[in-house]
């Protein structure tokens, strides 16, 4: 495959992504020490984690070089992950006692 040599060739690109990931991980640690509500903290954490995961998927796992596979993996995964979220309302009902309380 012609792209093979180029996509694995750029060490500098890997290093940039690596540094970005380290910075993002550091940001997570900083967020952990902020005095904010758990909900806010969760939101910030998941945003950073998703950015980290996207970087790793695109550049470490080279999905950026294969558009078709990228869509297959992302759509499949995101769909299954979303389908798993139905249970949350029951979790909130345990803590709050009613369907959509507070």
């Amino acid at each position: 495959m012609a792209t093979e040599a180029t996509k694995n060739g750029a060490m500098s690109k890997d290093l940039i992504v690596y540094v970005c990931l380290l910075v993002l991980a550091a940001i997570q640690f900083v967020i952990a020490y902020q005095s904010i509500s758990p909900t806010q903290m969760f939101t910030r954490m998941i945003v950073v984690a998703v950015i980290e995961a996207s970087l790793a998927l695109l550049f470490f796992m080279h999905l950026a070089d294969n558009r078709g596979l990228l869509w297959f993996v992302v759509i499949f995964n995101v769909f299954v992950l979303f389908a798993m979220q139905y249970s949350w309302t029951d979790s909130f009902r345990i803590s709050n006692g009613v369907p959509w309380a507070k």
């Binding site: 980290e52 796992m61 798993m84």
Partner: protein
């Protein structure tokens, strides 16, 4: 992984079919790489199932304990795992360039980093056990804290351990000529995935439970 393990098949291999005899694979991805991606999709569902279960219970439990004080160990572990992804990339790159010795060296460095991660992880577990946190109970609150912590990090640690073994085996067999650069790349995908999962385990299982 290999379908041609010596000793298992005594007959000589038939000549590989020229690719013009077959349709182009979907997404232009060869079978081994495709299988690894599919495994990653399935494993994502496995980890997501565990994390959703953990989130479900954590959210439903008032006064969930937030006992972690130091993040130094965690930061070192995260740094090691992220770095091991970089060394894995170097290994695959060396293999692509035909540099067998370099590929083996980088792969073994990756495995060594994986071992370091696992050892730090186990040390952390030991410290937590010493503090009285077990699968069933802990000094700070609901017993579910320990149960979910050990389950999720244990699942991840299992993946790291399996990955380390695979890295050593595939690395050596690559040097011996049984596996090629493609196989190393496929294993690299797995290793990056283990890294990727850690990016979610760190914030949810550790950082959200940091004492203030």
């Amino acid at each position: 992984m290999s379908t041609t393990t010596p000793g298992e098949i005594t007959m000589p291999m038939p000549a590989p079919a020229p690719s013009s005899l077959m349709e182009k694979p979907a997404f232009s991805v060869p079978a081994k790489k495709m299988a690894m991606w599919l495994f990653i999709i399935a494993d994502t569902a496995t980890f997501a199932g565990c994390l959703v279960a953990y989130g479900f219970l954590r959210n439903a439990t008032p006064n969930w304990p937030r006992p972690f004080h130091s993040i130094t160990n965690l930061a070192v572990m995260t740094f090691i795992l992220l770095t091991s992804s970089l060394t894995m990339l170097n290994g695959v790159r060396a293999a692509r360039a035909g540099n067998k010795a370099g590929a083996l060296r980088w792969t073994l460095i990756t495995a060594a980093l994986g071992i370091a991660f696992a050892l730090l992880h186990i040390r952390e577990w030991m410290a937590l056990i010493d503090e009285g946190m077990t699968l069933l109970k802990n000094p700070w609150g609901t017993g579910l804290f320990g149960a979910s912590f050990y389950s999720i990090t244990g699942l991840h640690l299992t993946h790291v351990t399996g990955g380390v073994i695979a890295l050593i085996v595939v690395g050596l067999r690559y040097k011996g000529g049984r596996y090629n650069a493609d196989d190393l790349e496929v294993l690299g995908l797995y290793w990056h995935f283990v890294d990727l999962v850690w990016m979610f385990v760190v914030p949810f299982v550790y950082l959200l439970n940091l004492a203030h």
